[in-house]
Symmetry: D2
Subunit: 349 residues, 4 copies
């Protein structure tokens, strides 16, 4: 009953096998390993983007922040949702990598950017020439930090705004696999066909030890990305171990299989919770996270039994009346079983 985060789950056995296999003999360092060649080809295929440039990073924060630094100069601003990971959970990594750009916060339900608010803030940005920070880049997260997914149409709407203002569009895809599993969109439709310039394809939260791919549909920024990655200390000498994980991830659609398991577990969890009297959802639970409220008594039983998850917001207390509703975030992963979900539901119901 481990719903604290998908990053608490282990790596998939096939990933471990791939690592073991990659560990044979010597390999050229810094991305010149032969596995990386395969990874590049597979990702180009997956995104139907034969010209795309592909790089690996070991953490999501680095993958996204370095990509954003290639898209937004220091004197500009990145439009991002006020609850995005970039704003709330990275200790200022985008500001660090860009050299001091601003983040302009956009509102919207379920941590999805409201297009009208986005446009209003873009308009506001550039009203006094050199005195303001300039318009830089737009960054969306799919699925969002609230567990909702953007549909292809919704991304395309943001993409159209990006195009209208000639701004690059970045997608934080830390859980990209879960978005694809949830929407059945193709990776290409979800990204470049809808106006996305750079996407990160997360693996860490979905069964890898720690690898994210940065996919640049415009290869012109690739060299700058390489330099910024190196300078940030994110170019791995024994790069083959990153390549091997990503290679396994992309083999036989392992990425999608794992994301589907996680999403299915979340749906089971969601449905179970909603059958509790008084329970409700905070957000729609489109992918592998469930944000929901149910009575304190159920929380007490679950936590006493060792279930792990976070109150959302954090500052709620187990002390108080049994009937009061407390809200929580529950995240499923590729290894969450039906039994886990059912055991948990039995406790909180």
């Amino acid at each position: 009953m481990f719903f604290a985060s998908d990053n608490t789950s282990p790596a998939h056995p096939k990933v471990m096998e791939a690592l073991a296999k990659a560990n044979e003999g010597y390999a050229m360092p810094y991305g010149a390993d032969p596995i990386m060649e395969r990874v590049r080809a597979k990702i180009r295929d997956m995104f139907e983007a034969p010209e795309a440039e592909v790089y690996l990073c070991a953490t999501g924060t680095s993958a996204n922040a370095i990509a954003l630094a290639c898209l937004c100069p220091p004197w500009a601003t990145i439009y991002t949702h006020q609850n995005s990971h970039a704003e709330e959970d990275e200790c200022g990594a985008p500001e660090f990598y860009t050299g001091g750009s601003k983040l302009t916060l956009i509102g919207g339900k379920d941590a999805k950017m409201d297009p009208g608010h986005l446009e209003a803030r873009i308009e506001h940005t550039a009203r006094v020439g050199v005195h303001n920070v300039q318009r830089g880049a737009i960054s969306v997260t799919n699925p969002t930090e609230a567990g909702a997914t953007y549909s292809v149409e919704e991304v395309a709407k943001i993409g159209a705004i990006a195009k209208a203002y000639n701004l690059p569009l970045h997608m934080d895809g830390a859980r990209f696999a879960n978005a694809i599993a949830a929407t059945n969109a193709s990776p290409a439709e979800m990204t470049w066909k809808s106006g996305v310039d750079v996407v990160t394809l997360g693996g860490t939260k979905n069964g890898l030890m720690g690898v994210e791919a940065v996919v640049m549909f415009d290869p012109k920024i690739a060299w700058e990305f390489e330099l910024r990655r190196k300078r940030g200390g994110h170019l791995f000498s024994k790069h083959r171990y990153l390549s091997a994980q990503m290679d396994a991830y992309l083999t036989d659609d392992l990425w999608l299989t794992m994301a589907r398991q996680a999403n299915a577990a979340a749906i089971r969890l969601r449905d179970g919770i909603l059958s509790i009297e008084g329970a409700s959802l905070l957000h729609p639970a489109d992918a592998n996270s469930v944000f929901a409220s149910w009575p304190r008594a159920g929380h007490k039983r679950a936590i006493e039994a060792g279930a792990k998850y976070y109150f959302w917001p954090f500052d709620q207390s187990l002390e108080g009346s049994d009937e009061e509703m407390l809200s929580a975030r529950l995240v499923c992963s590729w290894c969450t079983t039906e039994a886990d979900v059912d055991a948990f539901l039995a406790l909180i119901s």
Copy 2:
């Protein structure tokens, strides 16, 4: 016959076992895994430093650059050898992490800092108050980029200068194990007992996939280190996989065993080369690297047979007279065998 770099070697089987074991079940992220507790305790023991703070990074560049940023403000300078990794091989990572500090380059044989030159440059730095960059920190690398080791006494001499000027002393220990194996000094003598404030204990080049420990003998900078590591995207969510590698490294002195193998291979290589007529060493070959010259004919035979290593400097050519001396860097690792060495020597002799 792979002497290109120790970073081309695989991980040790015990490290792979430890990873497999760490992969069972769920684990709290971001360094809160139980394995990290063990690692911390082992490193404190190893360095006889019960108060030391210990953090893990996945790359040497990040470990060193983040540590330096905690020691040197943006308006100060880091004294480092002109051939150090920080100066020559990190695309400006120290400048990036510090927010624009300078590197003041110190000369000295075999990439070891000349103490006299160091003092002269420190004196020079602060001669005009606010107009100059200020004195920041001193960084030594042991073993050096030229394969030489500092003795404890030599480190202590630098340590005394650091103390005299009230400057923190950092040791880049990307190959720290090789230095200890070569000198038989204790880790404590080689570091804090000789005036070192922060050392990085490298694992990547010595049998791990990619982990370095940053050991701070002064725990006061620990929180700043944590913030800078997070902000730089170097805090791993699935941290247990870093912990597990380092834990294996520290178990039954695996780190030292591997370093001794590498160093022994280098000595065998060095002695073999020196028996070639006309051959000579560029640097003393104290640890696991050999910088040596021998006739072009031998290089031709080795390279044709598939041996991998770098000319040093790079811009030498296989074209030319057989007798001319060409110089090369040869790096041994924990998995370099006597047979590898002997096969190589047979080719170049």
Copy 3:
């Protein structure tokens, strides 16, 4: 009829005299001129702060951004009003000087920070340890960008919050003289007695060519300020010309006399506008700025007659019905005359 900004006004004749006098003979550079000694003493007197450290900058943006950089590390955030100059009019100068800190935007009427909102945002900041940017500093502007002044009590309320959270409090005093003239508070009461740690005493908008004093009640940050000022290119070699302007400003209360003239003109303007049918104020007009609405017909007549001022917001149009209300910002300065005001009122009425 020049109400575009107080920075369009000339320097006061006494300032020009002081410059001419300072221009005699040689003077030691970089702040070692004897006039700076006098300036320092006068500002210490003015603020009843004999230990305060005082530095001059030539622009308000540099004075404030460098001060903030001494108060807020790169991984922290500055709490500031969403309409502050730091957020809206400096092209990211605070982010640049701090090395990438964030600005956390606080709401509140008339561009004054709402203390409740401030506390809520401070509480929100630190809820997840190393993952968030940290609490850095609080910055208030007095008078605000909306022409309102904080009373001493209001500053003290913010000061108490700063103290409760152990955060430094900065006051952007680009128009500090106007705030003092408006409230009749003493400079000490308005600043350190109410919890302010650093204030900038603006001169540029109030009769100087371009000088601002940075007053640090805690002298411990002084050396860092000096280094950051130098490194930012803001240490003037011919510093005497900054000193001389500030010296004239502080002689015989010229600063206060000029601010009173500007404020009196604004009151006259405000009262005249309010006598127009349908006219109204957007903000209270506490100091030398008036934000007000009146019918388009009046705007047309004024602009045709050559009056200079900005619509507020910018994107209003002179095209349309005569009766519609358009809003504007009108800024008075030390040299705005009653005749100017009356001529303008005659046009718009």
Copy 4:
């Protein structure tokens, strides 16, 4: 007898007149003043560069560092002489404005870059791809910090290297007027005709209060320069006072007249010193600075009589034998008189 620096001299009376004249009435801020129009036109004429973009800064450090930041990305290096102002006297301003670029130090007599050494360092920079900082920009200072001037031919030689490696060439012209006065070259020949892309035309050391013009022969970087200047807090609201100084400077060749006076004084000083027995020059004294040695007895007499200048290097002492040679830097300015020089020579002879 004030030879400490040209920045200790006052502003020229015509500059004061221009300021007084500029002080009449209101003027639009931030460079939109009509005087700036004239300045732009005059500088384009002066440099025979009708497309050049021209901006003003109040300090030399800001003018040069902001310009360099437009030419060199954070991950690259600026080739500059090891004794340049950028390296030795700016507390890291170039590193700050570029966001952490490196300065690669070039040797050469009299603080002039040795072209062979420059080429060797450029070659060395890029030898290992992404692992090194990249080749960024070249910066020369004319006249140098050692008082020597580059001839047009010498600049052109550096310009040819810049072109060969496709690197931008920056000239720090803090004393550009003195270089032109010394060489009789045209500003165009000394700059863009010899390959210079950006030059700063210094005024502060040569009779202004504090203004430098940044002249960009390639207007494509102009907008970035404006944003960086604003963000650095170097865009003056009351910009007319910068414009007015520069306008006076460019009227009737005042800049050249003043530089010629300064240079003539230096030649008189040089010749006088060389007539002292045992005296010698450290550098050729091409412009307005004289670096020379003469016996301690002469130094004692001069300093007792109130002469101001710096020992060079600083750490020489007045204590010791009368005959020993001590070396010094003597800087003449537009207001150094023949009488000043002769009085000084009388003391030291």
